[in-house]
Symmetry: C2
Subunit: 276 residues, 2 copies
């Protein structure tokens, strides 16, 4: 369904890589270490901002996860009393807490977390609230009309935007049953992006990714993961389980994604900021 | 040795916390989720910057770690072919790869990673190169004279600065033996911050933290972890195993720390950027 955008994104990625490869010889340290080169284009950061927002939930063994996953484990390995320093060992599924979905999460052969270009982690942030509808029914999707309504108020989505759904779901984080909101058959009743909306965003607009305050880009009731397949299939990334979007301006803020960088990762916990 | 700075830092932290507590009632979502409040003061971000630098090594099972730690483990739990999506489980020691040391790493009762105020993760970056000396002998420390020499060139360290040692060590990351550089007795021969230098930075200057491209803030040959105890004891944080500092301007860039945020963490992998 998104073949044209897939093709153009592949072309875009190839030309980016070629460009980075050309630059690569000039900065030996970066080539050796796998650190990315400086971005070739100016950052799209808002100027003169004075507020920093932390959009990250604190990660713990009580953080809700998909039923198929184990919760995060923390094992104390060294203590100040015994060893002079404290240090623990963490074990978690990549898709735990406030986290990224890389294209490789659903699309074989596409970018893993360590391969995504750094300049995509600094993005104009658009927050689309569907909380009023969600308060009536959680089986509610972000639609093309929601996006157009946002644009009517704030202007066309800026180039390289990150589009976040705010549904009010983050306040449920301390109660796993309410966060998952599964019925007796195990179907989750949680809001997300509709198929037409992500098709519109990836084909008609220039975005770096989309995010949600729930556990999934997709509606819990969606029979197929159409939002995942469309967004990741277009080479964009997702961020799930976002906190604190209620505090951020609907337009004008800049998202900064402190992305995971483990080799071949399909995703992982992020530190997510907005500055405005 | 740093009692006066400890006391003033404790006062500072208490007043910050009080202030955050007062603010807390106003933003219910943030209180519930543990997300930090907007920073109360304007960000010290450089304006009009056009380059983004990734100062983060790619994390893998081959990333060098202290001999007492296990290397990072990645276990594939779900695959696109079998499950429709790919997803792995990660296990690692908190102090692995490009990572943060929180005050709680060495000082009982002090801030864990989830407790550090977010505005400290956006900081003017000062890069002090001691590579020329390190090329002759790795048992070389950043001194007060090195800091004063930097200030002679670039002016006094800005308020809230992050001071990074560049020694050229990051190019060794792909070879654990060269990165650890241990002798037959197990003593590492790696550069770091000298005791007088960190005393000067924490008592005579206003910093948020210090960083190194080696595995430790301290010299490998240091009998006591004086740099850790002084920096973390003053309520500042450290970042170790930084990549790519050769590419960053010595002055004028802004560090952005995508910090870990797990409950009670003594440290953890970061995504580290500089913008200039």
């Amino acid at each position: 369904m998104c073949a044209p955008s897939l093709i153009s994104t592949v072309h875009e990625e190839l030309s980016r890589r070629h460009f980075l490869g050309v630059l690569g010889g000039a900065v030996a340290a970066a080539s050796v270490t796998g650190a990315a080169q400086p971005s070739a284009k100016p950052l799209r950061l808002a100027k003169g901002f004075r507020d920093t927002f932390d959009l990250t939930h604190t990660l713990s063994s009580r953080t809700p996860v998909y039923p198929a996953f184990r919760s995060m484990q923390f094992v104390e390995k060294f203590t100040i009393a015994k060893d002079g320093f404290g240090c623990g060992e963490l074990t978690f599924n990549e898709h735990t807490g406030t986290h990224m979905d890389a294209p490789a999460h659903f699309i074989a052969g596409r970018s893993s977390v360590d391969r995504l270009p750094v300049d995509r982690f600094f993005a104009p942030l658009a927050v689309i609230s569907i909380k009023a509808r969600v308060d009536k029914s959680p089986d509610t999707a972000v639609t093309v009309d929601d996006i157009l309504a946002w644009e009517k108020l704030h202007g066309r989505l800026p180039a390289g935007a990150f589009v976040a759904m705010y549904s009010g779901w983050d306040t449920r984080i301390t109660d796993a049953a309410r966060f998952l909101n599964a019925d007796a058959k195990g179907t989750m009743h949680t809001p997300g992006f509709g198929g037409e909306a992500v098709k519109f965003l990836t084909e008609q607009r220039d975005i770096v990714g989309v995010g949600v305050d729930t556990l999934s880009l997709d509606l819990g009731t969606s029979a197929t993961p159409v939002a995942h397949l469309t967004v990741l299939g277009a080479g964009k990334y997702g961020v799930e389980v976002i906190a604190n979007l209620a505090a951020v301006p609907a337009a004008g803020a800049t998202l900064i994604v402190g992305a995971p960088k483990h080799l071949g990762g399909t995703g992982g916990p992020v530190r997510l900021y907005a500055v405005a």
